[in-house]
């Protein structure tokens, strides 16, 4: 079970004066159960790329395989792909519309042709997963707080039981606790169900903390790909394209330069703590 992109190109407004290649020659394989992070500045092609994953955009050229089947082949059941890959857009709460939270979350599965009882069951599970309390199920989604709306919207996608969950900046505009809560829940979901997760984020700290593999997009191309430690080793090149390494990685590099015997590839606070304590054993009181 995987998604495979082969030489995917996408050109906006092809054949007009505004023609622009948004993504170029993308070759990627996303394996079942991976937690992937996509980073890149605004306009680097991240959103265009993820919209290919569930067929919202159709590549100008190249092939996309979902579980070995070419989705661009004549007669490929698009509906299958959309059930397989769930996409949570930026500010998904703007898409809430139903009269109460329960109905809103049921909307997706209902359209998949699932019975009302099963819809409700799935909706309850999904709402529980995102940590929204039962007392909110009968409220209008518009009466919820920002963080709660965001959760309800994510639950709406989860209720469709996707096996790949794609989230485009799910924490934008949330307070620090709200950010941590949502990412923790997604991470837990990933561990519990082995769901594949693809997270687009501007926060290098969050990416370093949660993902197994990072894809760096620049000018429509994949610039780097690898484990957080490998990718953030290129921090100088990342800075040139408007990205950076997590703050702690810089601290480690500077400590090493000053002669403190630490390895400089820590990307999370936890790793940095252990590494500094190891390198500075003598100073611990």
């Amino acid at each position: 079970m995987s998604i495979k992109l082969e030489h995917i190109n996408y050109i906006y407004s092809e054949g007009t004066a505004y023609e622009k290649a948004a993504i170029k020659d993308i070759c990627l394989e996303i394996k079942e159960g991976e937690f992937i992070g996509i980073i890149g500045h605004t306009g680097s092609g991240k959103s265009t790329l993820i919209q290919h994953l569930n067929g919202i955009l159709k590549a100008t050229s190249g092939e996309l395989y979902c579980n070995g089947k070419n989705i661009y082949e004549e007669g490929y059941p698009m509906k299958e792909l959309r059930n397989y890959v769930g996409l949570v857009f930026q500010y998904p709460e703007h898409q809430l519309f139903e009269v109460d939270v329960m109905k809103d979350v049921c909307f997706g599965p209902k359209n998949q042709g699932i019975s009302p009882e099963e819809c409700e069951k799935r909706a309850r599970e999904a709402l529980e997963l995102v940590g929204l309390k039962e007392k909110y199920y009968t409220r209008s989604p518009f009466d919820l707080s920002g963080g709660q709306k965001r959760r309800a919207a994510i639950a709406g996608v989860l209720a469709m039981h996707p096996q790949v969950l794609v989230l485009d900046e799910p924490t934008a505009g949330l307070d620090p606790k709200g950010r941590d809560d949502i990412l923790e829940q997604i991470s837990m979901l990933h561990k519990r169900t082995n769901m594949t997760v693809i997270l687009v984020s501007h926060s290098m700290e969050d990416i370093a903390k949660y993902v197994d593999r990072i894809i760096v997009m620049n000018k429509g191309e994949v610039m780097y790909e690898g484990k957080p430690k490998e990718v953030f080793r290129h921090y100088k090149e990342l800075e040139k394209i408007g990205l950076a390494a997590p703050q702690v990685t810089y601290v480690m590099k500077e400590l090493k330069e000053k002669g403190i015997p630490v390895s400089d590839d820590a990307t999370t606070v936890e790793e940095a703590v252990e590494e500094i304590l190891r390198g500075m054993k003598g100073a611990v009181k």
């Binding site: 949330l174 000053k258 100073a283 611990v284 009181k285």
Partner: protein, 283 residues
Amino acid sequence: MEMIRTENLVYEYEKHDDEGNVVGMQRAIDDVGLHIKPGQFIAILGHNGSGKSTLAKHMNAILVPTGGTMWVDGKDTKKEENLWDVRQSAGMVFQNPDNQIIATVVEEDVGFGPENLGVPTEEIWERVEESLKSVGMLEYRHRSPNKLSGGQKQRVAIAGVVAMHPKCIVLDEPTAMLDPNGRKDVLRTVHRLHEQEHVTVILITHYMEEVVDADHVIVMDHGKIVMQGTPREIFSKVETLKEYRLDVPQVTMLAHELKKRGLPIKDGILRREELVEELCRLN
């Protein structure tokens, strides 16, 4: 005279049920006293729903208090005859750049504010030029705002406020929708306005790293001010901030964790250089 002053500021609104009946009152701001001096750089922190945006909206009279008083540059915001003065003294920049840009050419957008103030045409153009220069966007003056990045649009929005010559700029999460580069550019612009043009700045944000250079930090919770002090004072209270659903910069967190594990690091480390220096001292 204080730039912004409030006394027992209260803002309440009615809560409705599904049929539209009033079921009670909600207090978004609860007895807030503020004293902001001209030229200060103030940061306001607080979780979603803590009342910080409601407070910001009082600063240029989008909302007026339901109890207590707010004065902007000495003018009571409740009095309708003060509305224009208040709005000229305190300009406001919002989160979403797309909701603030109205014209089809950058320079016309920036000129919209002063035009509404009745500034003579000649002077409008001078102001447009000087404000676009001050946010580093002069070379984009003839462009369409649609073709700009989020950070660039946000700087145009700031220029639009600057062109009205406000004494104070209130920014409500101006970087929430931007990428790291856009965020840096917007913050640099705000700091430049503060340092060189001595504009009073009130910055509301969820990014703790953006607060370390402020003169004074205010933390809000349930409509009240629950903490205030210098960034160092505020960020040395890691556990208290967590209770208010907030956080500290990653470097501060690292210092805090190392201290818990036995390294005698001083409290309130805010910057990378400080932590590196402190660790070198201990080694």
